[in-house]
């Protein structure tokens, strides 16, 4: 097991290097130029100023020199400064990562608590009106884009109930009640979006497991429905669901990018959108590296969790 973990961690290095190089080259070879952005329409003909800014930002050096310089900084946990705001990127991320982590964790928690039980109910009440309703609901959740759901909630709340979500984020350690108030709506919306797949998969897996011989044996032994479903069936049915949870991390990130913008959360996703729109290369590179690391690590965690869920799996 330890050897497996070490191998996987070592494999992360070329993966992340590949991601950083790809994103670095992508930002440098897009037709848009951050210097044009900084000088604006008023100063676009001021070549002397543009050369000065290029030098200040280190953009007058070769692309590979710029890359290795940036990479050297990353190894020292220095992501550099934003080209646009001039502020330290790491300082900015330190404030924003907890917001996105909290949103992601709450959304995932909600989707698990909501999606898995619904999937189980749908399976054990197969082909009843309740099953049809829950299946229809799960397909709806899969089909409706998260931004539409979010804007619908805002519009209905505002027009009919004079309600608006809290407008000012506070950290949980400052004011837990207000924090949960502002987090609840986006977390539930994102959780609902994530739970559609979980409902479908849990139902399918449960139906398959419930037809296994050992489940028939459990029924024959006279065990209660609760014990058969929760102890014997669900644990085995959950293995692929755990895989899906891991695969949903990128979906979670993408959803967070949208919801942070709509629900005024100062998270990493919002920072990414602002930075990408203004060609702020170092910020885009830093956030991409962060997200890539999270996705790679979450995949590792998912793989390791197989062993915990299924005794037959050994690394």
């Amino acid at each position: 097991m330890q050897g497996y973990i070490v191998r996987r961690l070592l494999l992360m290095v070329p993966t992340l290097l590949g991601v950083t190089l790809f994103v670095f080259l992508l930002t440098r070879f897009t037709p848009a130029d951050v210097v044009d952005r900084l000088t604006g329409e008023v100063g676009y003909q001021d070549e002397a100023l543009k050369a000065q800014i290029r030098e200040e930002l280190g953009l007058n050096q070769g692309v590979l020199t710029q890359y290795f310089k940036w990479l050297g900084g990353v190894l020292h946990l220095d992501l550099g400064e934003s080209f646009i705001s001039g502020r330290d990127i790491w300082d900015e991320l330190k404030n924003r990562v907890p917001v996105s982590v909290e949103l992601g964790a709450l959304a995932m928690l909600f989707s698990i608590l909501f999606g898995i039980p619904i999937g189980v109910i749908s399976a054990i009440r197969q082909d009843t009106w309740l099953d049809y309703l829950l299946r229809g609901g799960s397909i709806l959740l899969l089909a409706v884009p998260v931004f539409f759901l979010a804007i619908s909630v805002l519009a209905v709340g505002a027009w009919w109930f004079d309600w608006a979500p809290p407008s000012r984020y506070t950290a949980p350690w400052e004011d837990l009640q207000n924090n949960l108030a502002i987090m609840a709506t986006p977390a539930i919306i994102l959780g609902l979006a994530l739970s559609g797949a979980k409902i479908r998969l849990t139902r399918t897996q449960m139906l398959e497991v419930l037809r296994q011989d050992y489940i028939r044996t459990a029924w024959a032994k006279g065990l209660s429905e609760r014990v058969v479903i929760l102890r014997h069936a669900l644990r085995n049915a959950l293995i692929p669901v755990v895989t899906v949870i891991g695969l949903q991390i990128p979906v979670l990130v993408a959803g967070a990018v949208i919801l942070e913008n709509i629900f005024l959360l100062p998270g990493v996703g919002r920072y990414l959108v602002q930075s990408a729109a203004s060609f702020d290369y170092p910020v885009v590179q830093g956030i991409t590296l962060l997200i890539a690391t999270v996705v790679v690590l979450s995949n590792l965690v998912v793989d390791l969790s197989y062993a915990a869920l299924d005794p037959r799996v050994r690394y």
């Binding site: 037709p31 001021d46 705001s85």
Partner: protein, 606 residues
């Protein structure tokens, strides 16, 4: 009694709406509710009119003002940089420059004062120029920087102004205008600063009042001893002090208790700003801005025109003010019109293009003007002249193309595709393909749709055009906008800060935008130079009007009407002085909002 009745009518209607909403929710989920709501809104808009205006209206209530309270508004994004010298974004200029920093002069506001028509002192108490070439400014004595370290409220002096100008000319993307004008700056004594220009330039004071140019920083900041890009380094002498910076959440300011402007109120002399705090929530999503206004979490909101009726229904006690669009020119240009191979070298081709445009039709289609007027909203509209656009900031100089004052040149603005075809024929145009260059995405969906809407008009007048949408950064701004293209181009002009910049940059061979059409008219050049040295404002205005007539006659640049319809701004019913101290541009939080006050009980949560 009447009020009670209307209250119950409103309440009943809203309760029914909620029931309908719940029924829809039960039947088909939230998407159906959203769809239902949209339909219901449209239905209400179709049959109901805007409620009458409430409150004291746009009148000066300064004498009744009570100090205190917090004014909440929004910014759609964070300031990209906290140093307004380092970028040209309107967000940095408005929410940092326009709150924290002073200029030498600012624009007067008040009842009967045309926005941006009179420069008055800001950091400067007075100024004089014997010849328009040497300008001497006397600073206000005892004007202090905000009480934050390391300046700790020290007094502003001439060296601060001098070093600000030097840093601006070294680093600001806006420096071009000063580079061509300013020869040197001297600090004569602690309260006197002198600018010597390369040429006599009467509108220099307009540049000093411009809220995009010379914000005054401390000499320590200009020397790099204070990091002006960090919140703790944002220290100016303006009316608001940056108190709390939370990127993506809010930008919060407290009043500068030592700002210089004092007004008379019923309670005696009162130092501006009236309000204690200014808070900008960072909300980019339109639906969220609307929700926050309806929930009364923000005090001001400028909805899209299609939502005006609904907002007026939903917040019937809100006060509202029609607003003009900002001073911005959308126009056609032709590249090198002195090139014998350029089709648009012939004035008839350019006039034909102007006559191909149904300007009123475009304004009606995009601004929904008639429908809104039927609903009781006052919506202002206007046509751009060339090169002076219609809109807040330039009304004093703008000549209405529809007015008799235009003279014979007014005929080229008439929508007449048949006459346009005749002009093309007379010019010998034989249906050659003309590339129509424009950019997409960068200016927003409405701009893109507006561009598309003009294409059939041009074709209908006989132009055989081939649309050529271009990437903004790599093609349009670096090529077409700089005059390097063949055919025809369409877009926005740079939003210049003063009338002279439009005239000089677009019409004078030394102007930065001259290459867009390369007008060839010595008399226009003479007039442009003459208005730069004319000290009598009315004579200068007449010179500028004459330029508009000449350029309209030649149509070197053909003005379109993108965005030339006004909108409506709503304030909640306790905000006062919102309609009497109007300015335009980025100086609004100094020139206007310092005079706002909140008509709330002393004990209310203000």
């Amino acid at each position: 009694m009447l009020q009670e009745q209307s209250y119950w009518q409103r309440a009943l209607r809203r309760r029914l709406s909620r029931r309908q909403a719940l029924r829809l929710a039960a039947a088909g989920g939230i998407t159906a509710v959203a769809a239902g709501s949209a339909l219901a809104c449209r239905e209400e808009q179709a049959v109901e009119e805007a409620p009458p205006l409430v409150g004291p209206g746009p009148q000066d209530t300064t004498f009744e003002a009570r100090p205190g309270g917090t004014y909440r508004a929004i910014t759609t994004q964070d300031p990209p940089n906290l140093d307004p010298y380092l970028n040209t974004s309107f967000v940095s200029q408005t929410f940092i420059g326009g709150t924290v920093y002073s200029r030498l002069a600012k624009w007067a506001t008040g009842p009967g004062i045309e926005p941006l028509s009179q420069a008055v002192g800001d950091a400067a108490e007075a100024w004089e120029t014997p010849d328009g070439q040497v300008w001497t400014f006397k600073l206000r004595p005892n004007m202090k920087f905000h009480n934050k370290p390391p300046l700790n409220g020290r007094t502003l002096d001439a060296e601060d102004v001098k070093t600000s100008m030097e840093r601006f000319m070294a680093r600001s993307p806006n420096r071009g205008i000063f580079q061509t004008l300013v020869d040197r700056v001297e600090a004569i004594d602690p309260l006197t600063v002198r600018f010597t220009l390369k040429i006599p330039y009467v509108p220099f004071i307009d540049l000093m009042a411009s809220p995009q140019l010379l914000w005054i920083f401390s000499k320590e900041a200009n020397a790099g001893q204070i990091d002006t890009q960090k919140p703790e380094g944002v220290i100016g002498t303006g009316p608001w002090v940056l108190d709390k910076a939370q990127p993506s959440v809010s930008w919060e300011f407290t009043k500068n208790p030592e700002w210089y402007e004092v007004v008379q109120t019923r309670r005696g002399p009162q130092r501006l700003p009236f309000m204690d705090r200014l808070e900008f929530l960072v909300i980019g999503e339109y639906a969220q801005i609307m929700a926050q206004f309806l929930a009364r979490n923000i005090h001001v909101f400028a909805p899209r025109n299609e939502d005006l009726a609904q907002i007026a229904q939903q917040v019937p006690d809100a006060q509202r003010l029609p607003g003009n669009p900002a001073w911005l020119l959308s126009f056609y240009y032709f590249g090198d019109t002195q090139d014998p191979n350029n089709l648009f070298r012939d004035v008839r081709m350019r006039r034909a293009l102007s006559m191909a445009l149904d300007r009123d039709g475009l304004i009606e289609a995009f601004g929904q003007v008639s429908r809104l007027k039927q609903q009781g909203f006052e919506i202002n509209t206007g046509w751009n002249n060339t090169p002076i656009p219609w809109g807040d900031g330039g009304m004093f100089w703008w000549l209405d193309p529809k007015s008799p004052d235009m003279g014979p040149a007014g005929q080229w603005y008439r929508y007449d595709p048949a006459e346009a075809r005749r002009l093309l024929q007379a010019a010998g145009y034989n249906n050659q393909e003309i590339t129509f260059n424009f950019t997409t995405v960068i200016y927003g969906t409405t701009f893109d749709q507006f561009t598309e809407a003009q294409i059939p008009m041009l074709r209908n007048a006989g132009f055989n055009i081939r649309p050529n949408p271009q990437d903004y950064a790599s093609q349009y701004i670096t090529g077409t906008f700089a005059g390097r293209f063949s055919g025809l181009a369409y877009g926005y002009q740079t939003p210049f800060t003063s009338v002279d910049e439009y005239l000089f940059n677009m019409l004078h061979p030394q102007g930065t935008r001259y290459a867009q059409s390369r007008p060839n008219d010595p008399e226009t050049v003479r007039l442009v130079e003459a208005q730069r040295v004319e000290r009598d404002v009315n004579r200068r205005r007449e010179l500028i009007r004459e330029i508009q007539r000449r350029v309209s006659d030649q149509m070197w640049y053909v003005p379109s009407v993108m965005g030339r319809w006004g909108g409506m701004t709503f304030w909640h019913n306790f905000v006062r002085n919102w309609g009497s101290f109007i300015t335009a541009g980025y100086g609004v939080y100094t020139e206007t909002v310092t005079r706002y006050w909140l008509d709330l009980p002393e004990t209310a949560a203000r």
